[in-house]
């Protein structure tokens, strides 16, 4: 293992301050395996949608860290830690993907939760 390279590539982290959370936990992330019939036969298809509620999907490349640097569009094995700022419980919903994650707040009032996002690339 190249320790230096591993060090440089691993454990990158970003702090995103004062992020507003408006997604609500009523939104359902539903993965479906389905059959569609056509004249040519049956198709096996995968469907994925967020249904109900307000789904807030955060893409890493839409974020800017506390130094003003944009985040990469994809991260290797990322984790997201939320640091609450206004007393509204906010949380990551489902799986943190390589390019995006979902975030939601527990209560609908006030209108949004305020958090700092600590984003870690675990590699």
């Amino acid at each position: 293992m190249n320790v230096t390279l591993d060090y440089l590539k691993s454990n990158r982290k970003w702090l995103v301050r004062d992020f507003q959370v408006w997604g609500d936990d009523g939104a359902v992330e539903a993965d479906i395996l389905a059959t569609e019939n056509d004249i040519s036969g049956s198709k096996v298809v995968y469907l994925r949608e967020f249904s109900g509620g307000l789904a807030q999907v955060v893409h890493f490349d839409d974020l800017t860290d506390h130094r003003g640097n944009p985040l990469p569009s994809t991260l290797d094995n990322p984790e997201v830690i939320l640091i609450p700022k206004n007393g509204i419980i906010s949380f990551v919903q489902g799986i943190v993907g390589p390019s995006a994650f979902r975030i939601a707040r527990e209560r609908l009032e006030p209108a949004y939760g305020l958090v700092d996002l600590l984003i870690l690339e675990m590699c």
Partner: protein
């Protein structure tokens, strides 16, 4: 997202509502990996998997080659191992474990669960105590020809079941002249087995894990005809939710059991529906199903319980109805006419331009199909098929109309009905397909433009971005 995984010649490639076929690895390095099981043919069962964001799937790998063409079920444990129960070619119930290691699933040897008479529609559940429960339907062809719901247990990870393959296990139902369907869930120290009886009832029995006994059979609902259009789940408040469809009465219905009493019957949506799925987020019941749009086209619908009622919507913004349907007659004074409402319903012969009385007729006439989201298919039902004419299919790239040939072949409105797949799937839509404005409506547009005039003009009945959805299953691990 709409992603084509495979085509199949099986009767029901993704199986039956009460069963499980789509799983998510719950933990470890491969946490979040989705794995789908389906019948790839009348005899084969295949596996494919994908990681977030699930737009690319592995090449399907056949894991079973001697299946009967009948629905099967599976479950995934916390380590990612998958257990499958299926009917084999001899109509015995077989059990197969797929061990998960280094990101791949490796099949062990199949074990016969039961080999007496014929058996179908198996469901597998792993109890918290480590035991495996296989609930199945045995067709007693050697005696009374009735179908019986039975259960067998394995205490050694599926190596042996009950007293061996000749042991029929415990009988849960009385004899039914029609085939039954089964599912099960564990709630605290009880196993709930829910099953249909003779197409006329949805019943359940409860196994008390502490007492080691099955309770008496109770009815959830009765009516004609109840087949495999049902599903169950358990909420965080320990309520058992049941969703089902009865083919004699259009609609999706819901009941909930709080441990001592059942709620009243609630109608989720009155439209004719099938293949319902239910899962709870917290104490809220979420229901998914294939709702009939008309003319055999079914679309995925979503309902969430809010108080005593349900909020119902389309599951996917790409599937349902077009936001705008315009007919364009190049020779008319008023060239565009909005036929959105007429195209959405299944009333016959009401989609045409008032000047030509045709859907499209002369060179330059167009049918414009607009949706605010990218879509992938178009169900077209005509009251009169066209003849002699040809169209060019085009999409709008933000500046120009670009011609394309639909993925399942071009269609010139010359047959009474056609499900046109514009692209192979939703993921295959052209990346340069852009929102444009036609007659003041902003949408992702596709149009069929007449390049050769018709001698017999087509007239439309229903035009919608709707597939023929038959079976659907949600991702759930079944443990």
């Amino acid at each position: 997202m709409h992603k084509l995984l495979a085509t199949s010649a099986a009767a029901r490639p993704t199986g039956s509502s009460p069963q499980r076929k789509l799983f998510r690895v719950p933990d470890g390095v491969f946490k979040g990996r989705l794995v789908a099981l389906f019948m790839d043919s009348a005899t084969g069962i295949s596996l494919t998997y994908s990681d977030n964001p699930y737009s690319s799937w592995s090449t399907p790998q056949q894991i079973i080659s001697n299946s009967f063409d009948s629905p099967f079920s599976a479950a995934m444990d916390i380590y990612g191992n998958i257990r499958i129960v299926y009917t084999d070619a001899a109509k015995d119930i077989k059990y197969l474990k797929l061990s998960f290691a280094a990101g791949a699933w490796n099949a062990g040897s199949a074990v016969t669960v039961v080999s007496v008479d014929d058996s179908y529609n198996a469901f597998i559940l792993a109890g918290d105590d480590g035991k495996l429960w296989c609930i199945f339907v045995n067709h007693q062809v050697s005696s009374d020809f009735n179908y019986y719901v039975r259960v067998k247990i394995s205490s050694n990870d599926g190596q042996t079941w009950g007293g061996g393959s000749l042991d029929l296990g415990t009988q849960l139902s009385s004899g039914s002249t029609n085939i039954c369907f089964v599912t099960a869930r564990q709630l605290a120290s009880a196993i709930y087995a829910v099953y249909t009886f003779n197409r006329s009832a949805l019943n359940y029995r409860v196994y008390d894990l502490e007492a080691g006994l099955w309770g008496a059979e109770n009815a959830i609902h009765s009516g004609n005809y109840i087949d495999d259009n049902f599903d169950i789940d358990i909420g965080s408040d320990k309520k058992l939710g049941v969703v089902f469809a009865v083919s004699s009465v259009p609609g999706i219905y819901f009941k909930e059991f709080d441990g001592s009493a059942w709620s009243g019957l609630q109608q989720v949506e009155p439209c004719e529906s099938k293949s319902p799925q239910i899962f709870y987020t917290g104490g809220t019941a979420n229901i998914f199903y294939a709702g009939l749009l008309g003319n055999s086209y079914r679309i995925p619908r979503f309902a969430t319980k809010s108080g005593d009622s349900f909020s119902v919507s389309d599951y996917s913004p790409a599937i349902g109805l077009f936001d705008t349907v315009l007919v364009y007659d190049d020779s008319a004074v008023s060239k565009y006419e909005d036929k959105t409402a007429a195209a959405g319903d299944s009333v016959g012969g009401d989609v045409f331009h008032s000047f030509s009385t045709a859907l499209i007729e002369s060179v330059g006439d167009c049918l414009y199909l607009g949706k605010t989201n990218r879509h992938f298919c178009c169900a077209i039902v005509l009251s009169a098929a066209g003849a002699g004419g040809q169209v060019v299919w085009e999409y709008f790239d933000g500046a120009l109309w670009k011609s394309f040939i639909p993925a399942n072949g071009t269609y010139h409105f010359d047959s009474a009905e056609r499900l046109v797949y514009l692209w192979t799937d939703g993921e295959s839509a052209p990346i340069d397909w852009q929102v444009g404005t036609v007659n003041g409506f902003s949408a992702y547009w596709v149009r069929a433009r007449v390049s050769t005039a018709y001698t017999t003009k087509p007239i439309g009945s229903q035009i919608a971005p709707a597939p023929r959805l038959t079976d659907l299953v949600l991702a759930r691990n079944g443990f």
